[in-house]
Amino acid sequence: MAVATTAEPAARPVRPGRRAPLAWIGTVPFFGYVAVFLLWPTGIVVLDAFKDTTGKFTLSGVTSLWNPAVRGYFIGSFKLSLISAVAGAVLGAILAYCVASGNPAGAVRRVYLSGSGVLAQFGGVTLAFAFLVTIGPTSGLLLRAGWYYSFPLGIALIYTYFQVPLMVLVFLPAIDGLKIQWREASENLGASTWQYWRYIGGPLLAPAFLGSALLLFANALSAFATIEAWENQIAYTVPQQISTSLSSEVGLSNINYADALAMGMVIMVAIVMTGYALLQRRAARWLH
């Protein structure tokens, strides 16, 4: 797959001011790349979800999603994501506020932002094991928690470890977008701190907060590595179930089952992300 470095389009002198009809060719490498490695696999997932193993069209893959067992996985995913998203959103918002109300060039802000950048990606084996040795049943520290292996609370706690930093990263710009003048103007007009937050600060931040919470929700839905490292014997969530069905040899009919599950995930996450995008647009309009 050739990746052009400096996509000069079919060299054709263009008079300034005239829209160059072929300039878009310069973007072909990018779109081509994305088409092959993102759109095509996604397309395969969606198409195969409607096929059985012989390639014929069937709805059984998709209808199997309504099975109680399968519903259980979706509900499990949903519960876990909801709890970790809410906890992450609230705690992350508090932390973001603390960071935002300090010196913009100060050390505290830099440390917390860099830390958030790293920890938001942190997951998988390392995270699960870090928590295992901290609060797991065999922990050397006194923080042993019997509920470490409980679902969803135990794993939700672990999820907040990367949800909170992600919230800080995503929500901080919104808080930064609150202009001083609004606070001062509201004070000048007679508002107390509480009134400011109730009438001005709160409503202005609400879309960004909800949007960020949705992002956290989608993030938790998609997460696999952490929960797999935490407990790989029992599948609680859809990603775990997908993994099981991909690697198990229980009948070839499972191949399309995985596709159906994967498609279900794509739809769920897509809906959530659309909500996120819409809310972000509103937030950006007010808080750019």
Binding site: Q181, S186, E187, N188, L189, G190, Y199, L204, R285, W286
Partner: protein, 372 residues
Amino acid sequence: MPVTSPTTRAQDAGARTGVEVRLEGLSRHYGSVVALQGLDLTMRPGELVVLLGPSGCGKTTTLRLLAGLEDADEGRITVGGADITHLPANKRDMGMVFQAYSLFPHMTALENVAFGLRLRRAGKAERDRRASEMLELVGLAEQAGRYAHQISGGQQQRVALARALAIQPKVLLLDEPLSALDAKVRSQLRDEIRRIQLEVGITTLFVTHDQEEALAIADRVGVMREGQIEQLGSPTDVYSRPATPFVAEFVGLSNRLAGEVTTSGTVVVRGCQLPLMDSGVPAGPVVALVRPEAVTVATSEPTEAGALTGTVIATTFLGATSRITVDLGDTRIMAQLATAEAAALSAGQRVTLTIRPSPVLVSAGSTAASTG
């Protein structure tokens, strides 16, 4: 003239008699930087005082101290006889217009204006009515349902003004409200603000770095520098009788010319004898600050020997008047003439100059600084 109902006029009557504002000995510093030192200012009821000065002179700090958005290190603030120095900002009952961005973006213009009334627990009908009136007062009745990002900068500032006045504050504060606007809008809005201020009769403090603005609308101008007021007086006073060289050069343009103070209480500048503003200046060499409009330009040959001559270098067209820069050989001088006269001059032309005998300010020191 906006149409106001009888009830409005009756309500406005309360605000129409402004209150006296007194700032005594205000000081404020940030770390080692002194923003204000011992500032004293008394504003008469209904007066519009403009604080004028370069950045960092402390004018904005003064305004913010009055508003309660900053704490004074020392000093006292009295409004209408009551000491409000320790009153929090949200209890001071003042209306403030910021330089930019102060409208709440999630509220319409009407809601913005009504916000202060909402905080005072006015009923919805009541506050919408009052807000509409205020919007009419500033000429924006049609924009009531628009949001900040849908209206122009000038309109935003009008809404901000309406919002500040809606709560019928005791004092109106304006922090460089026109600085972020286009030149044309600026001069229109400036006159609007003055008109409204006079109509409502509210004591107003206006901060700006634009001396033209200050002179145009103020009852009194306070020229500030490095945390202190150098001169406080009417626009005419500040312009024609500047108290210090800083004021003379900040307000309007000045030519810096070498001169000699004589024993008879005048100063001789380039062969012209001019009365002194301050007759107590001792004899000796000084720098005289001469306004461009005091310099006359003639194309005829000098009638007496030793008269001031020079070569025209450039003409700057300013509309009704023009500014001519003339090279005197060792320095340059600016003259301000009616454009019709200036049009008759061309670059390189030799001209004869005289300085009109109006009182000039002199200072000891060199002419090293640039003219104006």
